[in-house]
Point group: C2
DNA sequence: TTAAACAGTTTTATCATATAAATAATACAT
DNA sequence: ATGTATTATTTATATGATAAAACTGTTTAA
């Protein structure tokens, strides 16, 4: 296997190169994915390593591999967007606004409902963590903390306070994309002064046991991010 | 490997038995998961088959496997609930109302937003499919179609009409659990006469380009399902 | 002429075995 | 008592061999 390592084992390295190549569109009908045997040779790894990588990518919905048919790339609709690797490969190789838009639409749905549930549940320990993240955001406004990390911490802490396992787990992939999303929004609109204030409204709704307010404030925040993305998309189409 | 097959290959069969056993709570600190070598012997399969199964379960967040440490079960918070297998194993082995409740909370978030988007997008072909599913539900009320399947088709067609890849993919795991959910709701409340009417309200919102109405009707429907579950949960606690 | 049956070939699936690397537990030396 | 070297266990990787699947083309029968 070629040079780089990054603490991944061989199988993971193979999956990484193959997976990102597939999503990057390297392969197609004219240039099909080579057979396992050829892959071993090309990447200079054993069949075990290649095989396990292929299996892993099949589990992610990227490919199928059947005897006598070889490895086939599945249509994009099969790609598992809730897999952190797939999502990362997509955002790195094909940083389309369309994906960011769809992801933000998901966030509108999830985060608003999570805020509502957090307000209902009233888990004081977890709400305190939201407060801590919010305070970090305030500090960030005067340069005393990282605006990106504190922002992410805030959103994740709300998901956690929802005490819903599905929402909590979505936090993991939201984390992946939030970094791009926040960076993008800040790039477009500039780091506004009102960021902390907007987020505080959500927190207030939660801590004051006002589920609907919390949800509304969250939805508002997300919708404005969505508006920024849509605006950028329209500009793009004008070209 | 023991008798049954079900069209799965060996690796998948091993993953199936091991995965469901783990989630069923067969293993614990007193009874740890055996090493790969022992697994091969117990299940009468080769090392390759066992290894690939272990890798697959690791990818699902159920276990880790490190040299000299063996296979360890990860805390439940790591289990990937967005993996169809994991979700199925959980619902089959531990059919807890709590999970159903959390899942329905996810559906409240997702389906309402999807209905809203579907109304905005106005993809006539996809909206027509919602209409078809709705018609099937009407037929089902007089016993001319399957109430469960038509209900599922309706909800999935809305996700599809949202034209959001994340929502569409959630359809797959929603499908898995919807079957339990609908069955449960119908068992509790009886198959009400108004099912078709309630769903039609959502459809009307979509077809008439009324995003907020569609979302509200969807949320209402979901919330009532949630209420049924919460009621059952309270009864359970009273015991 | 058409379709069904068959054989041949390619490719993955599974098995078996061997060696390397990682690491937990133990023994040892300081 | 503390840090270090050794040992044993377990996964990681490699290799080679056989089995099963399924596409392709050909032959055969209706």
């Amino acid at each position: 296997m070629s040079g780089i390592n990054r603490g991944l084992n061989l199988t993971q390295q193979v999956a990484e190169t193959l997976g990102s190549a597939i999503i990057r569109g390297t392969y197609g009908t004219d240039n099909p994915v080579p057979s396992e045997a050829v892959l071993c040779e090309q990447l200079q790894v054993s069949r075990s390593a290649a095989r396990e990588a292929v299996k892993s990518l099949a589990a992610k919905g990227l490919i199928t591999s059947r005897a006598r048919q070889g490895i086939r790339i599945l249509p994009e609709t099969e790609w598992n967007l809730f897999d952190a690797d797939v999502l990362r490969w997509m955002r790195d190789s094909n940083p389309s606004l369309a994906l960011l838009k769809e992801f933000t639409e998901l966030r509108v749905a999830i985060e608003a409902e999570a805020a509502k549930l957090a307000a209902e549940r009233q888990n004081t320990a977890k709400i305190e963590k939201i407060a801590v993240a919010l305070e970090r955001m305030r500090q960030a406004e005067s340069g005393l903390d990282d605006p990106l990390e504190s922002d992410i911490a805030f959103h994740l802490s709300i998901l956690d306070a929802s005490e819903n396992r599905f929402f909590m787990q979505l936090g993991r992939i939201i984390d992946t994309t939030l970094r791009v999303s926040i960076r993008f929004t800040n790039m477009r609109t500039g780091v506004r002064a009102g960021v902390h204030a907007d987020h505080k409204k959500i927190y207030d709704g939660i801590v004051n046991n006002k589920p609907d307010e919390a949800a509304a404030m969250s939805a508002e925040l997300m919708e404005s991010a969505l508006a920024t993305i849509n605006q950028a998309l329209e500009e793009q189409e004008t070209l």
